[in-house]
Point group: C2
Chain length 344, copies 2
DNA sequence: TATCTGTGGTTAATCGTTTAGATAAATATA
DNA sequence: TATATTTATCTAAACGATTAACCACAGATA
């Protein structure tokens, strides 16, 4: 079934059929209906490939994910697909699969660069996507690595200071400030913090947010209550063991895994959560609601990041140049059971 | 840069250029080299869309996932991408996003059916994928729902008894038998089981495996020690509370979430894991290695399922009809800290 | 009446490949 | 030598859409 066949059956030219399919020129109502009827009956579906070839658009967005496993990327893709589908676009997924080996290893940067650029080139020239969305987990500014491309590029989750690429992230600093504010309001003063590695920007920004919250309250962050973890469960456990000696009334662990470790450490020290020590996490991953007690934490709107990224990509494709080159999606606090006011 | 331009620069016809690019006909070595040089210098990349139109193949595999969030689907896609990429195929991802609303709700079956068929039709007729891989989590046999399609279809993870579709799953029954065998070998006799809902096939098959292990050892499964959970943490907790009264020496929970609940229940009863009661989980999700003590569990080779699905899809595309229509990927036991021999 | 304008439709070129069939030259065979 | 075969290459027709350019006709305008 081709457009030619439809035209023959309806007794018109292919051009006319095309015009009614795409609503791109006036056609007499009676004729239009006849054509639509023929299409309906024959179950005709326009050949997308032929159209792509002719109009030089594939209605496809290439998505490059550093690694699809884990909890962040799928949620982003979920939101992304929803928006793209609504607008009639496809998602061509390229999973770079480099969770363990290449990410955050600076001796591997050459290999990383090659892999990314090869993937982009493939997406651009062979698959001919209309735009690319890069979902970055690592702290690298991807734009410094990518060869020039002539299609819209949007970075999701991680951030960039490139002027060409658009990016969409979350409010790292602001929400972290909220966390500390929440603890301060609950009466906590001796607040310990287990950060991520300070050479990663999320850890830095969250730290800055925390500092601001203290400053705004006229207080000062006690350096003796700050430890630098590595995002892993064990580092949360170990640092908490250490911190407990300094008698904090609350611990803000900058992700849920470390928070889980901290809770285990607190229990191990025969103390109770939140009665003796409150714990605030970050990420709201599955484990957060399974811990006993249930973890109070921060939820990043990953789905929102995804749909916004898709939206920005489509704006780029349609040439609606948005003045904003970086959007930040608000996160929210999930208040569960691990934080309690201090003076009860 | 088109093939025409390359032909002009190399002083040959487009046909000849095409022949050297695709290695499809003999070309004099000297001429071939000249053409390759021109291609190299100009950075020419063949237009994939044009090729697809002509040869009626898009080198694209459509992947339909019921919901990409969660832990299973991404791991499968990871393996799938790896294989497909190696063979020069793309992954067009369609996330149906129906975790909460449609899955396993039988009043929603019409809506479910519509959504799946619309997605497949889109993939087939508009995106023109060469094959479809359906990653099913729910227990529904998808083939009963899909309208006839004339391209290879492979079902991954969940299973089918359709003769047209190929499927690739894991060894539910066998590995479950292994779990019980392992517990029996460790001297356990009073083994409690927390199943999933018995109207789901994984729960049934795992149950059958367990029964066989008992039977083979000349023992009988004690019905009083079996409870039917709903895969959620809470049901593990509640059933374990109840089971503990019957004094089992081991509990096999048919997923890690319920196992985690069971462990919490055991601790709550002031008993120790594994000293008083051993616990065996299933899935090896992230939480398994974070629990204290670390959970002994089953790891399904999701990546293997993914790459095998891709392999089968490609076989289908290439017309290499494999006699086997259903492959099962072996799982393995992950022995950690929650299972101990009984008589120490 | 002659010319302009607008409307609905067709013709045919085009997008960038692949490939069947034609052609010409070189080599083998009778 | 004449004919058949093989080999390397080219010509041109697809693939299935879109769309610029053109055309015929009706009604409006000078």
């Amino acid at each position: 079934m081709t457009i030619k066949e439809i035209a023959r059956l309806a007794g018109v030219s292919t051009a006319t059929v095309s015009y009614v399919i795409n609503n791109t020129k006036n056609v007499l109502p009676e004729k239009r209906q006849r054509i639509l009827d023929v299409i309906e009956q024959s179950g005709y579906q326009p050949n997308h490939i032929a159209k792509s070839l002719r109009v030089k658009k594939t209605y496809t967005i290439g998505v490059l994910a550093e690694d699809i496993r884990g909890f962040t990327v799928p949620a982003i893709i979920n939101g992304l697909t929803e928006y793209a589908e609504k607008e009639g676009y496809y998602i061509l997924l390229n999973d770079l699969r480099m969770m363990e080996n290449l990410l955050n290893r600076y001796d591997m940067i050459g290999q990383y660069k090659d892999k990314v650029n090869k993937a982009i080139s493939l997406l651009l020239h062979r698959a001919m996507v209309d735009a690319i969305i890069y979902i970055g987990m690592s702290d690298r500014d991807i734009t410094g690595i990518i060869n020039e491309i002539n299609k819209p590029l949007v970075i999701a989750y991680s951030t960039t200071n490139d002027s060409y690429a658009r990016s969409v992230t979350y409010d790292n600093e602001y929400i972290s400030r909220n966390v500390i504010e929440h603890l301060l309001e609950a009466g906590h003063r001796r607040i310990a913090i287990i950060t991520g590695p300070l050479n990663t920007s999320p850890a830095c920004m969250r730290m800055r947010g925390a500092e601001k919250a203290f400053a705004e309250a006229g207080l000062e962050l006690d350096e003796a209550l700050v430890r630098h973890g590595d995002w892993e469960y064990n580092s949360g456990y170990i640092h908490a063991i250490d911190l407990i000696k300094a008698r904090p009334t609350a611990i803000f662990a900058m992700n849920d895994l470390m928070a889980a470790g901290a809770i285990a450490a607190i229990h191990h020290a025969k103390l109770r959560v939140p009665d003796d020590i409150s714990v605030f996490g970050f990420d709201n991953r599955e484990i957060a609601s399974l811990l006993q007690p249930k973890l109070t934490t921060v939820e990043i709107d990953l789905k929102g990041i995804g749909s916004t990224a898709a939206q920005m990509a489509l704006k780029g494709i349609r040439g609606e140049s948005s003045p904003e080159c970086c959007r930040v999606i608000p996160s929210r606090l999930i208040l569960r059971e691990t934080v309690a006011p201090i003076n009860i």
